[in-house]
Subunit: 207 residues, 2 copies
């Protein structure tokens, strides 16, 4: 066993989990989708500390299935987070196509506030030091800053809002406004976001 002449350069252990034999089994894909959907709903309703069984029950799968696809709880949380970030970011083009720039911006900010409102308990999780969360903040920024930047630029170019708004500033502001604290309903958040939007409109043309 001094040498391993077989499979030169092709290590036996699967370095790429892709192409294990056939791409991905249909039932596995269904399970993952069901889990992501169920987890998103449960997290929104009860926070990210919700019991695992509640998620598996809603998804109609066993606990073993969950842990097969998401070995750690944090993996599921991170996956749901990314999934929702994508959904929110991907909503922008449709809005931009259907509404005029300022309206599209306002609608997307509302959408974004709704996204944030489902993130109760996540900020604590983010600071837990779990490496599974390490890439989430940058993912958040990488996806949202270009999207919001585009909407802002379009509205500014149309002369509908002021031109000096910084996307990151606005993301942080809306996130702080919409993060649920205590028992206040999200009506308050929506009003504050609308106020922010009016602030942007008010400065149109100025400077």
């Amino acid at each position: 066993m001094t040498d391993v002449p077989t499979n030169g350069g092709q290590p036996r252990q699967p370095r790429q989990p892709r192409q294990p034999r056939h791409a991905v089994r249909a039932d596995a894909q269904r399970s993952v989708d069901a889990l992501l959907t169920a987890a998103a709903e449960v997290f929104a309703a009860s926070g990210v500390d919700a019991p695992v069984r509640q998620i598996t029950a809603r998804a109609g799968v066993g606990a073993g299935t969950l842990y097969r696809h998401f070995p750690q709880r944090s993996d599921l949380i991170a996956a749901v987070f990314r999934h929702e970030v994508d959904a929110c970011a991907d909503a922008a083009p449709a809005l931009a196509a259907r509404y005029d720039p300022a309206d599209a911006l306002a609608r997307w900010l509302r959408r974004f506030a709704g996204f944030i409102a489902t993130k109760r308990g996540l900020s604590a999780a983010l600071h837990s030091g779990d490496p599974a969360y390490g890439s989430l903040p940058s993912y958040f920024q990488d996806r949202f800053i270009p999207v919001l930047g585009g909407l802002l630029d379009a509205a500014a170019a149309a002369g509908q809002i002021r031109g000096d708004a910084d996307p990151m500033d606005l993301l942080r502001a809306v996130a702080n406004l919409a993060l649920p604290v205590g028992d206040e309903n999200d009506e308050h958040a929506q009003r504050m976001v609308a106020l922010l939007m009016d602030g942007l409109r008010y400065g149109a043309g100025a400077e």
Copy 2:
């Protein structure tokens, strides 16, 4: 049951837990002391989320005893917090008597940084909305601001440090520096606190 004529003005439920019949039994006092000491050590080592059994084992006490004195977990955490705030604040007079003002200030700030360093996970607990924590922030301020203010005034009066340092600002700054994040040891915090102290000295007499 339309009226309750009995015990006018003296509600039956014990509003003051003091003076139940005789002051407090000696064994009960021992248990409380052992629990506070053990909890402080365990919290410092493992954070406030440490298992309850670990605390009772270290205190040499049964679980029932813990819950008799601290009906909720948050009660124990709050009690330990208050206990340590007191110990830290009470350390100031001795330091002020033994060392010259600026030295006493520096030593107390180190002491305070050590206090903060044991508070991993507490900030999350404070924001959990549990009413048992409601009074902790004001307790923190009420005890520390006069203590630090006294030390600052003495050092400023002696011309050893600048005179425009705000106690609350300094508390927040040191707390932020000393709060353990990730795996860094507290050496870093002590260096930063020393730096802050040098900053105070540097401004002596200025302005």
